[in-house]
C-alpha cells in the first residue's frame, strides 16, 4: 500500500498527485514513468514522473482526468492509500551537454518536462523551455520551469499570455530569440508531440518524444505498448518511452491509441489540452 501525500487539482482537470514510495523515489530519473492502480479493481495506469523528493521518499505526477482510472485517482485524498505504485519504469531521458536544448511541454507534459529541463541545466546546457496551452488559466509550474531555464516562452491558443497560436509558431519564436536548438525534447499529448516532430523535421532539429501508448504491465511482458520506430517494432515501456520523433510511425501509433478518430480526441479538447 502506498500513501497519498497530496492530490490537488492545479488547473481545470489536471491534478498533481504525490505518493509516498521511497524505493521509487530513491532511483527515479527524468523521463521515467510509474504504473499505479487506484484500487484493487483498477487498471494499471502509467503516469510520467514530474518531480520527486529522495529524502522524503515521495514521487509526484501530473495527470489529466480522462476515463475510469484517472477519475478514481481524482478522488484521492491525503492519507488514502493505493495498492500499486511500481517504478521507476522505462529508460530515463538521455541527458548530456548538447549545447542548446529546447524543452517543450503541453498538458501533463508541462510537469514531466520539468525534471528533464532541470537535469539538462545541471549538465551545462543552455535550456529554452516552451509551454503550450489553450489559455493562460491552464498553465502551471511556470516559476519552477523558469528557474531551470535560460529562456522561457508561452504559447496560448487564445493569446491570453505569450504568443498567440499553437506549436507551429515554434520556429518563429526560436528565430526571434536568435536560438537554434541542438536538440528538442517534447513531453505531453500525442498530437502535440507529433506536430512538433513534423515541424522540426524539415529544420533538421533532432527531436525526442516521450511516447504514451496504452500499457498494461510496463515491464516488457505484454507487448501492447509496441510501436514502429524506423521500421522496427519497439516496446515503449522498455525500449522507450523516449524515441526519435522523426522515426516514429505516427499514423500507426495514433491508431493503436484509438485516438485517430476525431471523436476520441473529444475528451481531450474538453479537458483543455488544446488540440
Amino acid at each position: 500500500m502506498y500513501k497519498v501525500i497530496e492530490r490537488k487539482m492545479i488547473v481545470p482537470n489536471l491534478h498533481e498527485l504525490t505518493i509516498e514510495a521511497p524505493a521509487v523515489a530513491a532511483s527515479v530519473q527524468a523521463g521515467n514513468f510509474v504504473v499505479l492502480r487506484p484500487d484493487d479493481r483498477g487498471e494499471r495506469t502509467p503516469l510520467s514522473v514530474a518531480d520527486w523528493d529522495r529524502e522524503a521518499g515521495t514521487v509526484t505526477s501530473i495527470f489529466m482526468q480522462v476515463g475510469a482510472s484517472t477519475a478514481k485517482l481524482a478522488q484521492l485524498q491525503p492519507g488514502d492509500t493505493i495498492p500499486t505504485f511500481s517504478g521507476p519504469l522505462g529508460r530515463e531521458t538521455v541527458i548530456d551537454n548538447f549545447g542548446t536544448v529546447l524543452c517543450v511541454g503541453g498538458c501533463y507534459g508541462i510537469g514531466s518536462i520539468y525534471p528533464v529541463a532541470r537535469a539538462l541545466k545541471r549538465a551545462g546546457n543552455r535550456v529554452c523551455t516552451l509551454v503550450e496551452a489553450r489559455s493562460s488559466y491552464l498553465l502551471y509550474w511556470q516559476d519552477r520551469l523558469r528557474q531551470v531555464s535560460d529562456s522561457y516562452f508561452n504559447i496560448t491558443r487564445d493569446g491570453t499570455v505569450g504568443v498567440k497560436g499553437h506549436v507551429s509558431a515554434l520556429p518563429d519564436i526560436m528565430q526571434e530569440a536568435g536560438l537554434k536548438p541542438d536538440r528538442v525534447i517534447v513531453n505531453g499529448c500525442t498530437f502535440m508531440m507529433m506536430r512538433v516532430s513534423e515541424i522540426t523535421r524539415p529544420l533538421g532539429w533532432k527531436t525526442v518524444v516521450n511516447m504514451n501508448p496504452i500499457m498494461i504491465d510496463g515491464t516488457g511482458m505484454c507487448g501492447v505498448c509496441r510501436l514502429s520506430v524506423a521500421g522496427e517494432t519497439k516496446f515503449a515501456c522498455v525500449d522507450g518511452p523516449d524515441f526519435d520523433g522523426h522515426e516514429v510511425d505516427w499514423r500507426e501509433f495514433l491508431a493503436r491509441r484509438k485516438s485517430y478518430l476525431p471523436e476520441e480526441v473529444a475528451p481531450l479538447r474538453k479537458s483543455g489540452c488544446g488540440h
Binding site: A23, R41, R44, A68, G87, I216, T219, G223, V238, A255
Partner: protein, 466 residues
C-alpha cells in the same frame, strides 16, 4: 489380488464440466476425482519396488508411497510425502505434462493405460485444502543468512519454500501486483483456479517468506544494490517477453500477444469488466496463431468471451502440436477449429487501423528438420484469406533482458537466457538462477526441479559462509 490388478487396465476418467456449459463460464473444467474414483484408480498401481515412474518426475516424488496412502485411506500421510519434494502439488497435479513425465514410465501403461498419477496427486492436494488445519513441516533453526529471490513464479516459490525450511531468511521481490508468475497471469482460471495459486503463496508466507510486490528488480533497485543487503540471490524471472511473427500488419489494432490477451483476462480480470476496470474486447472471429499450451489457453479463453468462431492456425500438422493432448482435446470439444499446415503471411486491416483478416499459405510436410519433425513447406499458389476481428499471436516468449542489461558480470546465452552450471549457479558467485529464465519457456515442474537443485547449492554456500 494381484490377479485382479492386472485385469484392471483402464484408468478412471475424471469428471469434467459439460462441453456446452463450460463454453460460457471461466470455472474449472476438470472437476477432480471423488474419493471412490481416487481409491479405485490408486488400486491399479502395482507398488513397484524400483518404481520407474519416480525417475520420470523432475522432482522425484515417491509416487508408489503416496498412491499406496490413497489405497489405505491415509491421505495425510500421502500429502506429507509429496510435500517433501514438491511444494505445489495442487498445481502440478493439474498442469504437469504427466503423460510425458511420470506416467509415460508407469509399467501398468505397457498393458493398458498408465496409473493416473497426476490426478491422484491433485486429489490429495485438494483433499488437504478441505482440512481445517494445514500441516506444517518443522523449520530448521534460523541461520541468520538472508536470501533474495527475484520473481514469484513456480521457480521462485519453490526456492522460497526450500530455503525457509532450512532456516534462512527469505525475501521475494515480484514485478507485478500479484504473485504466481505465469500461474497467475498466463494459465487461465478454467484450468488452474487462482484460489489455488493464492493458497500456495499464503503457505510459503506462513513459512516466513516475505513477499514484496510491485518491485521491478533492475529498475526499482539493481541486483548489485540488493546484494549489499543479502548474502545470496536467486533469479527466477521467467521468459516473459512475447515474440511476434514479423509479418506485415502485426501492429494493427486487435492484434494481441498471447501474454496481453491472457493478462487482460487473468491478472486484470477483464472477463469481469466493468466490475473490474480493465476492458477486453469480445470479438466474433478470433484467430490464434501457434500450437502450444499457450495457444490452446488463448483459444479457449476466446470461446468463453463469446466469440462465434475461434481458429487455431498452426504451420505443422496435428501430430506436431506442442500442446498437451488433453488440452488439444479440450479445445476441440469446445468448438475450436484447427487450421493445420497453414502459414500466416500478412495481416490485413480496415481504414481505422483494425485487423480485418489474415492472408495465409497452405503448407505440406517435407524432409525432417533439426528438431526431427518434418519441415513444413509452403505450397505455391495456395494463398487464401481468413476473416478475423482479433488475432492472438502465440508463438513463444524469451527472457526479459531487463536484469541482464543492468547486472555486470552476469553471463547471458543466446536468446537472452541466463547461463548457469548444473546447480543453477550463474557466472556471479552469489547469484543462482533457474526456471524459464535459464531454459527458455518450458514447464512448471521443470522450473521447480531446477529450482530445488539450486536451493540445495545455495544452502551449501550459505552454510559455509563465514
Amino acid at each position: 489380488m494381484a490377479e485382479k490388478k492386472r485385469r484392471d487396465t483402464v484408468r478412471r476418467s475424471m469428471p469434467k464440466q459439460d462441453d456446452f456449459e463450460r463454453r460460457k463460464n471461466f470455472a474449472e473444467v476438470a472437476l477432480g476425482y471423488t474419493e471412490e474414483l481416487a481409491r479405485g484408480e490408486a488400486a491399479r498401481c502395482l507398488n513397484c519396488k524400483k518404481a520407474p515412474c519416480v525417475s520420470g518426475c523432475p522432482v522425484n516424488i515417491d509416487i508408489p508411497f503416496f498412491v499406496k496412502a490413497i489405497v489405505d485411506g491415509d491421505f495425510a500421510a500421502g500429502v506429507r510425502q509429496i510435500k517433501k519434494t514438491n511444494a505445489l502439488p495442487a498445481i502440478c497435479g493439474r498442469v504437469c505434462p504427466q503423460e510425458e513425465q511420470c506416467e509415460i514410465k508407469c509399467v501398468v501403461g505397457r498393458r493398458g493405460s498408465p496409473v493416473a498419477i497426476g490426478r491422484l496427486e491433485r486429489y490429495l492436494a485438494d483433499w488437504e485444502a478441505t482440512q481445517a488445519k494445514i500441516e506444517k513441516p518443522r523449520l530448521a533453526r534460523k541461520t541468520g543468512r538472508k536470501v533474495v529471490i527475484v520473481g514469484a513464479g513456480p521457480a521462485g516459490i519453490t526456492v522460497a519454500n526450500d530455503l525457509c525450511l532450512l532456516g534462512h531468511d527469505v525475501t521475494i521481490y515480484e514485478a507485478l501486483h500479484e504473485p504466481g508468475g505465469v500461474l497467475t497471469y498466463g494459465i487461465p482460471e478454467f484450468r488452474l483456479p487462482k484460489a489455488i495459486v493464492n493458497r500456495e503463496v499464503k503457505y510459503i508466507e506462513s513459512l516466513g517468506a516475505k513477499l514484496v510486490l510491485d518491485f521491478v528488480v533492475g529498475k526499482t533497485r539493481t541486483v548489485d544494490n540488493l546484494l549489499e543487503e543479502f548474502d545470496a540471490m536467486f533469479i527466477a524471472t521467467g521468459a516473459g517477453l512475447p515474440w511476434f511473427l514479423g509479418i506485415p500488419g502485426e501492429n494493427l489494432n486487435g492484434v494481441y500477444s498471447a501474454n496481453e490477451y491472457l493478462t487482460r483476462v487473468n491478472l486484470m480480470k477483464g472477463f469481469l469488466f466493468p466490475d473490474f476496470d480493465t476492458p477486453i474486447k469480445r470479438p466474433a472471429n478470433v484467430i490464434v496463431i501457434g500450437g502450444g499450451n499457450v495457444a490452446m489457453d488463448s483459444a479457449r479463453t476466446a470461446v468463453r468471451l463469446g466469440a462465434d468462431e475461434v481458429h487455431i492456425v498452426y504451420r505443422r500438422g496435428r501430430e506436431e502440436l506442442p500442446a498437451r493432448e488433453e488440452e488439444v482435446e479440450n479445445a476441440e470439444e469446445e468448438g475450436v477449429i484447427f487450421d493445420l499446415l497453414t502459414l500466416p503471411v500478412k495481416l490485413v486491416g480496415n481504414e481505422q487501423g483494425w485487423v480485418s483478416g489474415m492472408e495465409c499459405l497452405k503448407m505440406e510436410l517435407g524432409e525432417p528438420d533439426d528438431s526431427g519433425r518434418r519441415r513444413p513447406v509452403p505450397i505455391e499458389g495456395s494463398e487464401f484469406h481468413m476473416p478475423a476481428d482479433a488475432v492472438v499471436v502465440s508463438i513463444g516468449n524469451s527472457p526479459n533482458p531487463l536484469i541482464a542489461a543492468t547486472t555486470p558480470g552476469l553471463d547471458i546465452g543466446r536468446k537472452d537466457n541466463i547461463s548457469t552450471d548444473d546447480n543453477g549457479r550463474t557466472s556471479r558467485h552469489n547469484i543462482w538462477a533457474a526456471g524459464d529464465v535459464v531454459t527458455g519457456a518450458a514447464t512448471v515442474i521443470s522450473a521447480m526441479g531446477a529450482a530445488r537443485t539450486a536451493a540445495q547449492a545455495m544452502h551449501e554456500y550459505l552454510t559455509n559462509l563465514t
